[in-house]
Structure formats: C-alpha cells, structure tokens
Subunit: 233 residues, 2 copies
C-alpha cells in the first residue's frame, strides 16, 4: 500500500511516500516560511522524484497535532482535499507519537530509558507526552498536555531521554532541574520525520483502522488566540 | 557552517543541507535508477527549497564507502567537482558509521546493545562493521569487512541490534542463527540519511579536520569486477 504522509505540525515541513513500512522517498524542509507556500510543491516534487502521480497514492497520513494552529490546518486541509477528491483512506497520527518513535532504536531489550517529548507550543509553553519501553515496545504513559517547561518535568526523577524542538529550546532549564539525568536526542531526531509518520500510519492501516476525512480535525489541546482573547472580553 | 551532504553509496540517494549540526533540509530517494540521473537535480532542488545557492555552501560531506562501485563514484565525483570549483572544504564519512549513528538514541546510559551494520555488497556478501556503546558514545569495535552474511555474524552471541539493508535482506538467516538475540532497526533506519552524514561531517569539521579533495577516493574494500576478472585471466 502506497502511503503519502504530510507533516506541517511544527516549524518544519515534511512529506514522504512509502510502500507499506518501506520508505520510497522523503523531503524535509525547515525553511522558516508558512507551510502553505511550499507543501503542495513538495508533494508534487516528491511524487515526480518517485516516478509517480497522485493517482498512485493508496492512503494518506497526516500529523494530527498538537502543534501550530495554522500549520496543522494547512497539512490537514491539504490531505483532506486529496482524500475527498480521490476517495482514498486517511489516518491522523499524534505528533508526540512520531517523535517518540524516532528515538526508538528497534527492539532493544535493555533500554529502559523513559522518553519525554517536548515540542514548542510558543507562549513559553511546550506540548508534552511521556513514553516508556515495555517488552521492547514504546508505550505512552501520559496524556498529551500543554504546560510550562518546568511543569512538563514534574515527577521525572531518574534518567530520561528528551526529544523534540522543546528539548532544544529549554535544554538549559531541563539540565538545571535534572542535571546529568537529562539525556538528549541527536538534533535530527527533534524534527518530525514524515517517513516515521508514514510507518506509524501503516501500523494503523494494516489493522484496518481509518479516520473519517470529512469529520477529521486538528488536535489542538490549547484554545486558539482568538478564543482565549474572546473569553477575556 | 552550512554543510551540503551527498550520499550515493547504496541503492538510495540522499542530499541534506545543515547549519552545523542542525538540519535545514533533506531529500531522500529510493527510486531504482542510477544515481547519476538524479543527484544533481536533487542538490539543485534542495538548495532552491532552502532558499540558497551553491555559493552559500561552506563545506561538503560525502559517503566514503564501502558501497556500490558506481554509486560511490557518482557522489564523490559530484562533490569533488563542487569542492574544486568553489575552493571549499570536504570530508568523507564511512557508510557504516552513518548507519550506526542512525540507531543511536542520544546518550542512553543503559543501552549496552552492540550494533552490527550490514549493507548489501551484492554477490551474496555484506559490508559490515560493529559498534558498542561506551559511556553513552558509539565506539567502533571492528574494521570494515566484506563477508558472507554468516561470516559477518561470527562471534556474536548475545543480543545485537542489526541495521542496514543487509539486515533486511538476510533477516531470516540472521534469525536462524541468533534467534531472539537478533534485534532489528525500524525500516527507515536502514536507509542512509544524508542528515546524519552531515552531522558526523560537522563533528569532524568543527575539530578542523578536512580531507584532500584532489586525493580523495572511494573506500571500496572489495576489488571491482574488472579487477577480479583480470586476475582470473
């Protein structure tokens, strides 16, 4: 099954084409521009690079959030448009699930390091979720929350692996609280990879899971600026 | 320092642009075509996507091998051409070093799983090298060799993480010999990532290390078909 995965949840923009769990091609872009300016061009370039057209895509994957309000809408709108035009399936995948999977080195039986995902939520906050290895599989052990960086570290006492742009942004504060217990992923693991989004999507699709494209919307967690402002008036 | 990394060592083709250790953009292509047909177009597309030109590149990185004879020559020739034309620096990076770094999840203090890199050397053989974590750092504990898959497993007794296309190709034979001790990286880690090539290049460049572009050549390990054939005549 050929899967086209689109990520616009954070400052980076990524597209990938896979055949089941096997990657065919991927383009990742961290240029600081609104994603609406390049995501369609990247999809077109990816399909051409792989010698395919939109008609060859059999299912779509998209970052569901949490993440940038406008960014998520761009990616999800693009994918929903392609899904509604083609009648193909789509699945949305949680952003922290993708980042946690990027630092999971296969089925390591001895790795017991918990993983804390931190992405930049702006306004001095992070989106966060925690994971632990159980029987060689990543298991999510918290909900997804938006918190101040210090609150996101609450309860972490032993060694913990931090991943995501929030881990880079707040590294000194994390080290200030946890010292040598804080471990950090290599920089390229802090960027969402559409290839990993495609792999997690394949894990859902092969089980027959689908999301309803017409009803699908971004997972924001936090209210938008407009909603927050409206409440204050 | 802006680094352009080019990988054409195996069946995949990858280009990445980084600022020091931080990725700006990356394109990965597994389309089965000779790399000479697309590598220059991919470099051009990457630079345009990142809003840059060849003149912005401050150093070059390239996969040094071992790998495909023709593939390595295409990437190395392209990079040497750009280096000689621009007067910028270049470094070559070992292919197994890149693949091992792709499954290294940060500074995990408990991960003691050795890593065995296996890439497809054709003719029923693999290029291989082994790594171990020491004090949270990856350390190479073998030379690079070309061997039959079974020979490449010699001496491995406990758990071991296998990475590279050779691990996919010969998975059943590896499992046949090692059973549950054999662990496998996620599929997207088996493809060489130019982003990781760029990060390893940055680690050398920041220490002032450079390779001599005029003298630089691919690291083949095995003789070419022509040389092997010539010896038989």
């Amino acid at each position: 099954m050929k899967i086209l995965a689109v990520d616009t949840a954070t400052e980076s923009c990524g597209v990938a084409l896979s055949e089941g769990e096997h990657l065919i091609g991927e383009i990742t872009n961290r240029r600081k521009q609104t994603h609406s300016r390049h995501v369609l061009g990247m999809i077109d370039a990816l399909l051409r690079m792989c010698g395919m057209g939109a008609g060859d895509v059999e299912a779509y994957a998209v970052s569901a959030g949490p993440g940038s309000f406008t960014g998520l809408r761009i990616g999800i709108s693009t994918v929903k448009g392609m899904v509604l035009a083609s009648g193909k399936d789509m699945v949305g995948i949680s952003v922290p699930d993708v980042l946690a999977a990027q630092v999971f080195p296969g089925s390591c039986p001895v790795c017991v390091l918990p993983v804390c995902v931190l992405t930049d939520a702006r306004k001095g906050e992070v989106y966060t979720a925690r994971y632990r290895y159980e029987s060689g599989m990543l298991k999510k052990i918290s909900g997804e929350q938006v918190l101040a960086p210090e609150e996101a570290l609450s309860g972490i006492e032993g060694d913990c692996l931090f991943v995501g742009r929030g881990a880079e942004l707040y590294r000194s504060r994390i080290e200030g609280k946890l010292g040598k217990h804080a471990r950090f992923a290599p920089p390229e693991c802090n960027i969402i990879r559409a290839s990993v989004l495609a792999r997690l999507a394949w894990q859902r699709l092969r089980k027959g899971e689908r999301d309803n494209a017409a009803a699908f919307g971004p997972r924001y967690i936090r209210k938008s600026d407009a909603e927050l402002g409206f409440g204050k008036k």
